[in-house]
């Protein structure tokens, strides 16, 4: 629910062009922030981007379904807003080259994945003092996942509204919304909650482990210690 697997030619051009422009602007904004971190930050970003892609390839069995994790929330906590947006773009572009989502949808996918992930660290920093790193990451991951899902739903609703009136198009949209509002809510909402819970539990486990073995990799709230852009590798 944090990645649109929609191929090219389906969404209205005004939507994906706006997505590409907005992504370009955010990438331009994030550039200087990341350059300050130096080449080591770029290497760290790449490692976490590679892990995101690798983890996406690992299906997690939930009863009869397989769920693909994204790790966007925990990676957002570890990297911070500007670097994680860049990582989201790189991951989305590589996925598009492999046929997972179209080229034209790269901007929208980056926004859906990246904007959620960008929320994770600020939320973590606000709550880590009170909740501890692992629970704060779980909370930040849940918020990140919900934000991405909201973006995903908004984009789909916008695309239906902006699509030129093709025969049956709006009947389908109306039917879809009726299904979601009715019996669909019984399926969609539990699935959404399950996805949020899975990502949060993963983030919880990941940060609990890092807190035990390499606490220097975790960002620290400003009150306790000035956070460094990239942890040392000793």
């Amino acid at each position: 629910m944090s990645h649109l697997h929609i191929p090219d030619g389906i969404l209205p051009p005004v939507l994906w062009i706006a997505g590409l422009v907005l992504t370009g602007l955010l990438l331009a904004w994030s550039g200087p922030a990341v350059v300050k971190g130096g080449p080591r930050l770029i290497a760290y970003q790449s490692a976490l981007g590679g892990i995101m892609l690798a983890v996406m390839a690992l299906p997690v069995p939930i009863t009869a379904f397989d769920y693909c994790m994204t790790l966007a929330g925990p990676v957002g906590v570890l990297l911070g807003p500007a670097p994680v947006f860049q990582v989201s773009f790189v991951v989305t572009l590589i996925l598009a080259l492999l046929g997972q989502g179209g080229f034209t949808v790269v901007g929208l996918n980056t926004l859906v994945l990246g904007l959620g992930a960008m929320l994770a660290r600020p939320l973590y920093l606000r709550t880590a003092g009170a909740l501890g790193p692992a629970r704060a990451t779980a909370l930040a991951t849940a918020a990140s996942q919900l934000a991405s899902t909201l973006g995903w739903v908004l984009l789909l609703a916008l695309s239906v509204r902006l699509t030129p009136a093709v025969t049956g198009e709006h009947d389908f949209a109306r039917g879809l919304f009726q299904v979601v509002r009715g019996a669909g809510a019984l399926v969609v909402i539990p699935l959404l909650l399950a996805a949020v819970a899975i990502e949060s539990l993963l983030g919880y486990g990941l940060v609990r482990f890092l807190d035990r073995v390499r606490p220097d990799l975790l960002p620290t709230p400003p009150a306790s210690r000035a956070p460094g852009p990239v942890p040392s590798a000793t």
Partner: protein, 241 residues
């Protein structure tokens, strides 16, 4: 998925057809032309001809059919959903809705299966901010080692019965297991950074210049672009009513 990554990477680097020998710049231009035509043309005739052309190109590039089908599965599914949603529409509307994503997806498969990743990413790295351009190269490089590690980790968890635990415990354990991969990834990135420094890294991964080297085989790429343009002009009138 990791097997697909590896297979694509191998075919792109080891292929010997004229499509593999052509310059990445030409192939990117061709991909851009085909995707733009797929997205903007209202004509089912143009899309049908582009689809036939792409099948020919994929066959002559000797790309395994299993790989083509795997890459086309997601767009096929989405196209089918949209076609089913428009069953009351005209037949030409259904054709356009089905063929648009298929043309774009087959173009992507052809591009990644005939172009090694340094050549494919080099032009992107010229127009993207420095961190993003470098990230493309390094993420792709890191991907194979990390994917293998994640798969080994998944097998180990299954073999040791971690997947039989209650759900909350299962995902907590998975998170801790992913933590080991994050640590390994971080150490790996640090070693990579040190290696780059030792080799005189100037602060930017530039990519090679092969992507701009025009070869004799670019004739076929130019011909295919020209063919697409001629088809578009000739068949543009076969459009949805």
């Amino acid at each position: 998925m990791s097997n697909t990554f590896a297979q694509i990477d191998h075919i792109a680097s080891a292929g010997t057809t004229p499509w593999h020998s052509a310059s990445a710049a030409g192939k990117l231009l061709m991909a851009l032309t085909y995707v733009a035509l797929a997205v903007f043309t209202p004509s089912w005739g143009v899309l049908a001809m582009l689809l036939v052309t792409l099948f020919t190109i994929l066959a002559t590039a000797r790309i395994p059919w299993r790989l083509i089908l795997a890459a086309a599965a997601t767009p096929f599914l989405f196209s089918l959903i949209f076609v089913l949603a428009h069953l009351r529409g005209d037949w030409d509307e259904l054709l356009v809705l089905f063929m648009r994503p298929m043309v774009a997806s087959f173009t992507a498969v052809w591009l990644v299966c005939t172009t090694p990743y340094p050549d494919l990413f080099a032009p992107f790295s010229r127009i993207l901010p420095r961190g993003v351009g470098d990230g493309l190269f390094l993420t792709y490089r890191a991907l194979f080692a990390l994917t293998a590690r994640v798969e080994r980790m998944g097998s180990a968890l299954r073999l040791r019965g971690a997947m039989a635990a209650p759900l909350p415990q299962r995902f907590g354990m998975l998170g801790e297991a992913v933590g080991t991969v994050v640590l390994s990834g971080f150490d790996r990135s640090h070693r990579l950074y040190q290696t780059m420094q030792l080799r005189g890294h100037s602060g930017r991964v530039c990519g090679c210049r092969h992507w701009l080297e025009i070869t004799r085989d670019d004739f076929w790429v130019a011909l295919t672009i020209l063919w697409a343009l001629v088809v578009s002009v000739t068949l543009w009138h076969l459009r949805t009513t």
